[in-house]
Symmetry: C2
Subunit: 326 residues, 2 copies
């Protein structure tokens, strides 16, 4: 574990405990099975990044209430809802090293528990009593479903342009982190300037986070990642490292890459060869740099806040998003 | 077409046209495919009962605004979202005489378009700006997903008690009609008495509507119903006509019924035999009577309103729910 990760975890350990508690308390299903399936996805070692972002955003804006942990569950429930549906759609087998819900309980239960979690997150949003927040959160849910459809439609598409990739990850990932930070500012009754700053922070962090995720699919280990590397490719998802390298490659190498990418049963050697080409044509480096740029943007947008432990944490989390190994 | 249906349709033709328009206007997807899939389920001859209920409930409480048609789409989008997921879960093939969405576009697109419609309905709820309404609607979405899971868990269960059946149809169907009427009263800023009356009307209408639906699965024609009769049974769903008759049957006849019910490939003759037994043991009659009782409750709850065309319509719709053929 990196020093930075240790440092962050030691600073948020109390918050994390309270988030775990809130996630259990606010689920409120009437059926045991819903609780069981939702718990399988909710309590399997998630980082709680989204709830933490909301809590820290509220705190840096001076939130003094006691409902931040409850409200923070909105973003974990919504996240879990999309994971349940996405795993099913991708035909995934493992999530965080555990079998996915639909393989244990079947597709119908996974779909419906996802629906329940989505509805639950909106119920809790409604409890806040601010229509603006509900607009933000229901818009996130709209965006995420459409981002996922967009990605699905562009599967296997070897000519996916970079701006379309950005559009997909914006909807799939960035708007949720943006919404978590923005909502934190709103429940703290923040100044407009603060609201905008945290929204920008979350948005750029989200973009960088997804790019880092897409990199990990080529650079991590299965044992660390909790799922197989090369999964994106097997699912036909072209991400920035590949998109960029395909564009830069010689026509000869492009043919080699396309052959590996379109072969669902590519071998370990094929995958190694592809990574070599991603390195040669700069796709890994380019993605890392672009992610870095968004992390810098995220950090810059909150620089005007007074120095505090909370500010330090938000800056550290941004840095960690880039160097994480899983 | 019955006289009552003709009469209702002539009284609401203008509203229906405006609902169709609002359903098209408010979908606002950014992907053409989402529009296409959502339109397939939305514009395939739905009765628009739920939007109509909201509009009439608002009108009887004196609503004078211009947003009723827009807000009414909430209930049709939410309804369509659940149909998309339910058809997939039930492995249905036809809906209103047309192939179901998941058979045309595949499960992933059907799941995600359902998610989009659910999110869209909550976005529009948020536009109303009344947190109470958003609480009602997100709670409906929670209830509906859990009602569906409950039904799924009790599939093939020959000992399903009547009260559990009632619990399932309450969540699956009644809360949505209740919510539509309740929301209508709320946007009209109705008196508490009126709010309660319309909520009760919608709730009882919803229960009766589902019972009538369950009856139709045994008494209608495939050509009129737009899907095969006997579908509930094929999907392992035990509904009140069967639940009641099984309880009343002689042990000999119960064995015959159980054999047909548990045989996924029951023949036309088996089905005829089952219907004969449902008649003999009063399951059809009992269900019809109970549905009648709830229709009476629904009508009684709004009797105190001054005479008006809107009141007449709400009373007529309640009557029609019982005698409809599809």
């Amino acid at each position: 574990m990196s020093d930075l990760k240790n440092k962050i975890l030691s600073m948020i350990s109390e918050d994390l405990e309270e988030i775990e508690h809130a996630l259990k308390e606010n689920l409120s299903p009437y059926l045991d099975l819903v609780s069981e399936v939702a718990s399988h996805i909710l309590f399997s070692g998630g980082k709680r990044l989204r709830p933490m972002l909301m809590i820290l955003s509220a705190r840096i804006c001076g939130y003094k209430g006691e409902k931040d942990k409850t409200y923070s569950t909105i973003f974990e429930y919504l996240h879990a809802a999309t994971l349940l549906h996405d795993d099913l759609i991708d035909g995934a087998t493992l999530r965080r090293g555990k079998p996915v819900a639909h393989s244990l309980w079947g597709n119908p239960i996974a779909v419906l528990t996802g629906d329940f979690l989505l509805a639950r997150s909106l119920s809790i949003s409604a409890e806040i009593g601010l229509p603006k927040i509900i607009k933000i959160i229901s818009k996130i849910a709209e965006d995420m479903s459409q981002g996922e459809i967009h990605q699905l439609l562009r599967r296997e598409n070897l000519d996916l342009p970079e701006d379309e990739y950005m559009e997909i990850i914006r909807r799939k990932t960035a708007v949720l982190m943006q919404g978590a930070c923005w909502t934190g500012a709103l429940i703290a009754n923040a100044l407009e300037k603060e609201e905008k700053a945290l929204s920008d922070y979350g948005f750029n962090l989200g973009l960088a986070f997804q790019m880092a995720d897409d990199l990990l699919d080529y650079t991590s280990d299965t044992s660390i990642l909790g799922k197989e590397v090369g999964t994106d490719l097997k699912e036909g998802k072209l991400t920035l490292p590949v998109i960029y390298s395909l564009k830069e490659a010689s026509s000869e190498d492009r043919i080699i890459m396309e052959k590996i990418i379109t072969d669902k049963n590519f071998s370990f050697n094929d995958f190694e060869k592809l990574i070599e080409l991603l390195k040669r044509y700069g796709g890994l480096e380019y993605t890392k740099k672009l992610a870095s740029k968004h992390i810098e943007k995220a950090k810059n947008s909150i620089l005007f806040f007074e120095p505090s432990e909370t500010k330090e944490l938000l800056l550290n989390i941004a840095d960690y998003a880039l160097i994480r190994k899983a």
